[in-house]
Every structure is written in C-alpha cells, then in structure tokens.
Point group: C2
Chain length 274, copies 2
C-alpha cells in the first residue's frame, strides 16, 4: 500500500504491490480495470509496474516509464520482477517485468526521482477548453447520440468529459483531426498523483476516431513522463496523432493539472485497423 496522508483510493488499492514471502514483488490485478474482453487497461498495468519500481527505489516518484506491451494481460495474481540499475542522489533506474500465468506481459524501463515544486522555467500553456460541466460525459453507459458508452471497467473507474470540439465522432461527425481532448479524474473523486497520471496517459479514445477510423488501437510501446506533482481537481488531457500509416498510429498526450501546469506527457505507438 502506498504511503499517503489520505485514505487509499480505489486506484491505490487496485494498483497496490507488496513483497511476497520468500522474496519478489506481487500484485493482485483487479478485473474491474478492464477495457473489455477480460483484458486490463494499459495505463492501469503501467501504474502497477511503477509502484513496484518505486518500492525498490530510494526515490518516491516515477518520472519516466517506457513500456513494451508484450501480450494482453488478464486479471489475477501477478509478479513484478524488478532489476535495479544505477541509483544516485537525483534519480534511479530499474527494469520491471510484469508477469502472469501467461508469462511476461509488460516490460518497463523505469526511472524514479523526487518531483519537486519548483516553478517551471518554460512550460507549454494549456489549450483553451470549456470547463468540465460544459463538456461531454463519456463515462460507462453515457448516451452518445443513441450509442451508449460500453460498460467496461475503465469507463467506470475514470470519469471523462470530452471537449465538444473533439467529440464529433460520438455523434457520427468526426472532427477530421486525430485529436482528443478531455477533462479526466478518478471515478471515486480522489485527487490525482504521479501514479494516476500514468493511468490518464492512456485513457482517451483512440485519436484515429477523430478522422472516422474506428476500432481498437492496442498499444505496442508507451512512454510516460511525469513532470510535476499534480494539484487536486480535474486534469486536462490532450492526445494527438502525428502519422497514421501502414496499420500504425502514434499518439502524443499532454496532461495539465487543475492549475494549468503541465504535469505529464506520453507518447505511444499503437496498431490501428488498416
């Protein structure tokens, strides 16, 4: 269980890792953080791996995580094999391999450090977006022009309020740009932390929906950088593709906290229907 000064959130509990008797780190992967079909959400898995890296590090926060998604991961008991690398006063490196009874499913390069509260020397300003209450709820069961949002776990666990200008796909009028922008927060209203930012980095619908190309876009590799401790409240996430070609899709995501500070960034390569 992470050391915090507030009661554990559902997310804290679902991503908890612990030392096993006899050595090693284990977790119990929670079936209610799925994306459908018994497959767990990629950001949820990466946040769990980040907890294992921190458990073996002298530093408390994940600052850079680069993950290869080897296989789809289902719920149940998992092992987290942490191989520590060099560790210094500023940062520490480790590799983490998450495995289930199906074998290794996620391989991660993890860098940990202590995030401070220094004001930025330079920071990208956040985009102009209507407040959450004027955006489109796309949580589980929400009605999108007659099509309900699927009742998969992640759409219960994370609340999403889409910027209407990037939500045209929901009413069969894609914007024509591979961009998604939404306010996000944990479903139980808990404040964000560096681990939930890792979750949020993979929580928007595929950007390819913005150009009317639907279907699932499984992640191949995902890098998340956590840049600052987020303030309480909604976070704003914006994902953008640079190129969609040959069955491949990239997505850059930036996340700002409720004060407008850039707190995380990610990039992923995913497969997309041709």
């Amino acid at each position: 269980m992470p050391q915090t000064d507030h009661p554990p959130s559902a997310f804290d509990l679902a991503t908890a890792v612990r030392r096993a008797e006899g050595g090693g780190i284990v977790a119990q992967l929670d079936p209610s953080w799925d994306v459908g079909g018994g497959i767990l959400h990629g950001g949820y898995l990466l946040a769990t791996a980040a907890r294992a890296a921190v458990l073996e590090s002298p530093h408390p926060h994940p600052v850079a995580l680069s993950a290869s998604y080897l296989r789809a991961t289902g719920p149940g008991p998992a092992t987290l094999a942490v191989t520590p690398g060099p560790a210094g006063r500023t940062l520490a490196h480790a590799s983490v391999v998450l495995g289930t009874d199906a074998g290794p499913t996620l391989a991660v390069q993890a860098t940990t450090a202590r995030l401070g509260d220094e004001p930025p020397v330079w920071s990208l300003p956040w985009p102009d977006v209507p407040p959450p209450e004027e955006c489109l709820a796309t949580d589980a069961g929400a009605d999108l022009g007659g099509h309900p949002v699927p009742e998969v776990g992640i759409r219960h666990r994370v609340q999403t309020r889409m910027d209407p200008s990037t939500a045209g796909w929901a009413v069969a009028e894609p914007s024509g740009e591979p961009v998604m922008r939404a306010w996000v927060r944990l479903g139980d209203g808990s404040a964000p932390d560096p681990f939930s930012l890792v979750l949020f980095a993979d929580v928007l619908p595929p950007t390819s929906w913005g150009i009317g190309r639907f279907g699932w876009a499984p992640t191949v590799q995902l890098q998340v950088l956590v840049r600052a401790l987020p303030s309480p409240g909604w976070c704003l996430a914006e994902a953008r593709a640079s190129e969609i070609a040959g069955g491949w899709l990239d997505e850059d995501c930036r996340i700002w906290d409720s004060t407008g500070r850039l707190v995380a960034q990610s990039r992923q390569l995913a497969r997309t229907p041709r």
Copy 2:
C-alpha cells in the same frame, strides 16, 4: 554488417554488430562518434542496440525503441545481450542491454517490424524551412559569431544546417523558444535509413539553448519511433521542449525525409542545468 544494396557507410561500419564465437552479440564502439570527454553519442549507441535487436528478430526494421541511459558509455568492445520477447507476423519485441567493461550502460525495449511504403492516412505536414544551402552550417569547426563549433566526433559524423530562425543562440541572440530545427545528413553523404534516423533523433543542440540556458543536457530516457523508410537526401529534424523545470527537460523531435514525409519521432527526458 547490415544487408544492403550499397557499400557500407561509415555509420554502418561504426554501428555494426556480430555474433561472437561462443555465443552472444558484440560490437566495437567507435571513439570517433563521441560528444566530447570520451563519451559516445546517445543516438549512435541506440542505433547499435537496434542492430542487435534486428539481428535476433524475424523483422528487418526497428519501429520503436525505448532506452534508459544508465551510465555514460565510452568506446571499445561492447556486448549486446538480447532477450527476445513475443514475435509474431507483424512485429517482435525484445530487450537489449548494452554493456562495456563499466557494466550495463544502456537498457532498451525494442520493437521490430517491416516498414512498408503505404502512403499515410494522416501525416503532420513539415514546417516551412529555408533549403539547406540557406541554413547555418553547425558542423565541427564552423565559425558561429567567433565561437567555433567544438571538434567532437558527432559534429564531423553528422552534417547539420540550422534553420536561422532557431539558430539565434549561435550569435548570442537566443530565439526565446526552446525549439531547434535543422537539416541533417550523414557526414559521408550516405542516404538515411531506419538506423540513421535513430541517430538523428538525438543530434540537435539542446532545445534549452533556445531560451539562453546553455550547458550539456544528458539524456535519461529516449524513445524513438521509426515510421517509414526515408527517401535519399537531407532529413529535416525539429525538436521542441514542452516543459523545463526542476533540472528536467523534455524534448519532442520529429524528422521528415526529403520528400516531406514524417519518417521518425522521438521524445526524451534529460537533465538540464538549473
């Protein structure tokens, strides 16, 4: 030696890997690809690791590489420990650890596949930049307002022609934006390939120079995505920081080939002088 239909370039030779007698993959890291102080260039090292991943893969091209820079790496003999992951018809995963007599120095998650020539469904257009002959040469020894570019290996091995609008730092007039844009090609004029794109992803000066904050910015983690086979000629690279804070700097880099197609992207987290 890579299988190609042209004579090997200096870059091909310097990044070559081979199977050792008795097993394993080895390389001879070339001292002439340094950044000064006997330290080798990060993109050069990642390209060498990519060759090891491809040697053990059914697929010929690196498409996603995520690397942790564990320690500075010097020249000389190196081992490349490749641990293959799942391999399918479309892509294969592996981890690669580059080690020298100083121990492991670079840990990489590698995804390999076959890059095709399908036209993009969506692609970010390239920025408007003057042609190379109207840009500022920043190769080794070039005179930048009385300050010569250092005679380090990488500035001989890669030719750089900076967009004047992002080269103000060279004449003590930083642009005020953490952006660098330049035409790049191999020093011997060889055509780019997926491996040299990996090199180019880390070859521009630190973007922090654009806001007048000089000094070296050692890479902590670097992810490179190779999106398409590049056409011959100069490539255009554009790097941009989103946030500089607390001694950390991120850089997004995009690379277009001479036809204007986006062929690679990268993101890195680096340390920067406070």
